[in-house]
Point group: C2
């Protein structure tokens, strides 16, 4: 059998019947050379329309029902895309999560993929039919419909690519690749032809918004090469490569930032073993992603414990922290939603020193105060005032000459 490519089309790519026609053309063209499996998001706007309907019945609708509701968006776009392919003489069939046994955990709205019936999908492409699979959807062992959370269609695509042994997973979106930073903020931001999986992982996690973090993790874990490209204009996009040993890595490959963040500080926590787990355990049980975690050195056996979460999780996290007040025995809870994260990402950072100090100096010269610093091997994350983000990103982009 010839090589398999998974093509995933996001919401804007299938945002109208005309767009669906164009996507069908892309698939038709690709299907002449390779076996194609398609994963599709809901038409843009559709999911929000459904959420508005749901919100009429209260702000926190039952998650099982919520998932049953919003998953219809993908069912609609997959059926329409199959029809569009038929109209071009191409055999295609839509498949829901239930129909390909896309099994997930039962944490509704944030479900994690457990397994998928690769044999069924392979049987379909063996019959020269292009399967059009609903992204974002899953089913529990008991048959309840789940969703993978926003952007989950990327994860669906990569998971399927991994399970069927696809040669590559092409993520079609409305941008033509991964840039050194957001071109809306820095006018001379530059498209990267390739990027390492690690760099992409850091960039996606920091809100580069090109591709969902979990999908990149999946790709990394299962060695699936991913390409990010545009369904709106031709181009080769950015290849997210598994390894990049032949090339010398740039010290800094991109600047990422994320504004929808909230900082929680538990002031006056007892500096005894197990405290961090007592705080983060209940939060991660709620399937909430915690990012920057910082614990300062202790004074008089008391310390401050700080972490950031996405703004949408603020209320839930606040309730959790309040409920463990006695157990953790902190003095005060401080919540700051006026913050943002800015990150410098680069696989070459490992071997090239001085990146951090150059960054701090450049920001300081431009009066950007850094509240928290947190570094990993290939990333430096800084929490700063939300109003200074655009300035900081520009300063860093210039400092590391990313337009060159």
């Amino acid at each position: 059998m010839s090589e398999i490519i998974v093509q995933k089309f996001g919401g804007t790519s299938v945002g109208s019947v005309d767009r669906i026609e164009e996507v069908a053309e892309i698939i038709k063209k690709a299907s002449k050379e390779k076996k194609i499996i398609v994963v599709v998001s809901a038409m843009s706007g559709e999911t929000n329309k459904l959420i508005t309907l749901a919100n009429h019945f209260g702000e926190n609708p039952d998650k099982r029902e919520f998932d049953a509701l919003v998953s219809t968006g993908e069912t609609i776009s997959s059926a329409l895309l199959a029809m569009a392919l038929h109209s071009k003489g191409i055999s295609a069939k839509s498949y829901s999560a239930s129909q390909i046994s896309m099994k997930t955990t039962d944490s509704f709205s944030k479900a994690k993929i457990l397994d998928v019936d690769a044999k069924k999908i392979l049987k379909v492409i063996d019959d020269d039919i292009i399967p059009i699979i609903t992204g974002f959807q899953g089913i529990t062992e008991g048959g309840d419909v789940t969703t993978l959370g926003r952007g989950g269609s990327d994860t669906t695509a990569v998971a399927i690519a991994a399970q069927v042994g696809a040669k590559r997973c092409d993520i079609f979106t409305d941008v033509d690749g991964v840039y050194t930073t957001d071109p809306k903020i820095v006018s001379n931001a530059k498209k990267l032809d390739s990027i390492t999986m690690e760099e992409m992982l850091e960039l996606a996690g920091q809100g580069a918004k090109v591709m969902q973090t979990r999908a990149v993790e999946f790709a990394n874990k299962f060695d699936v090469p991913v390409r990010v490209l545009s369904s709106f204009k031709e181009g080769s996009g950015t290849l997210i490569s598994l390894e990049d040993e032949t090339m010398e890595n740039a010290a800094v490959s991109g600047i990422a930032f994320q504004k929808d963040q909230v900082k929680f500080t538990l002031h006056g926590v007892g500096d005894i073993p197990g405290t961090a787990f007592k705080i983060l355990g209940p939060i991660s049980e709620g399937d909430i992603e915690v990012d920057v975690i910082v614990q300062n050195v202790s004074v008089d056996d008391k310390t401050d414990f700080t972490f950031t979460v996405s703004s949408e999780d603020q209320e839930v996290v606040e309730n959790i922290i309040n409920s463990i007040k006695e157990e953790v025995n902190y003095k005060e809870l401080m919540i700051d939603s006026n913050i943002a994260k800015v990150s410098i990402v680069g696989a070459g950072m490992r071997t090239q020193t001085g990146v951090a100090s150059r960054a701090f100096k450049a920001l300081s010269n431009n009066n950007v105060n850094i509240e928290i610093i947190c570094t990993s091997e290939i990333k430096i994350t800084m929490v700063i005032d939300k109003s200074l983000v655009d300035k900081a990103v520009n300063v860093l982009h210039d400092e590391f000459e990313l337009d060159k």
Copy 2:
């Protein structure tokens, strides 16, 4: 366990979030006295919106994809109705056809129910949860999504009522019961408190539009009492009783009519055994309902074979008839879409003579020409010119004093 009532809500009953709130109130009230199972249609307008999307890719989209597409309407309304019930403190869960194994034949868009997992539904109500089941949807043995055709939610409701041994199936709609004829055409049309299943069968088949024929057939076959009532105003509706032996039946209980009809006449067919089957076999294989079938006496071993079908099936039937021209050996095919059917229905007709002659006389006095006549035990159907329908219905309603 207390008695079970199946409540089915049609598209206009759940046509907006406000309507869904009101339907939730009806269910809440009923749930205080009985175990309730709910079957729900798509929000009115939703299915047509999806059909418009599909038609962008050609007039005859693949039926498998079409069914996957339009079935999402019911998934949406069932999830929203469950949320509305939650907001009123009532436990409820939505279930799709797949989740309750609503197995059907694989004739997409016109699928017939084969079986449903009654145990699963009974388990849900045993747990004091109200199941909100998607009407209209089914799944094939292979797991493809099917739909039962327009109005199929009634059939879903009756089938479930039959399988779970419900005491009654309440069909909530936008009319407050079954009338002697359409109140829009005859101003003094009268609501019937009860009607026999047989009468209802004839009325529904003739387009009384209160309830789908197949659903009435199901109710008849499985002895499920059905009540038709309004979700917009209080009232006891019309009870469709299984038997009506205690009462003397009215000779005529209602006048039905149907305008979206096409008459096919195969002129000069050989009057030999098997001809009717040769003509109707391929049509019924296409799951097309054929109604009035008339074959005139033969002249010189040649006869005319006439039947009517729904206008929406005209093109398909025309193709079928053309494809069997040699086999059937007819001289000419005549198609007339300028016709309509008017029927007089009444269980008492069996025992009271003269209904037909009174009807013919009244129509003749009012210059309504009858093209075809076809009678059954409790129904007299007449095919007339489409432009004369309103007049004919009024004349007959007056003649049989149905306003009394």
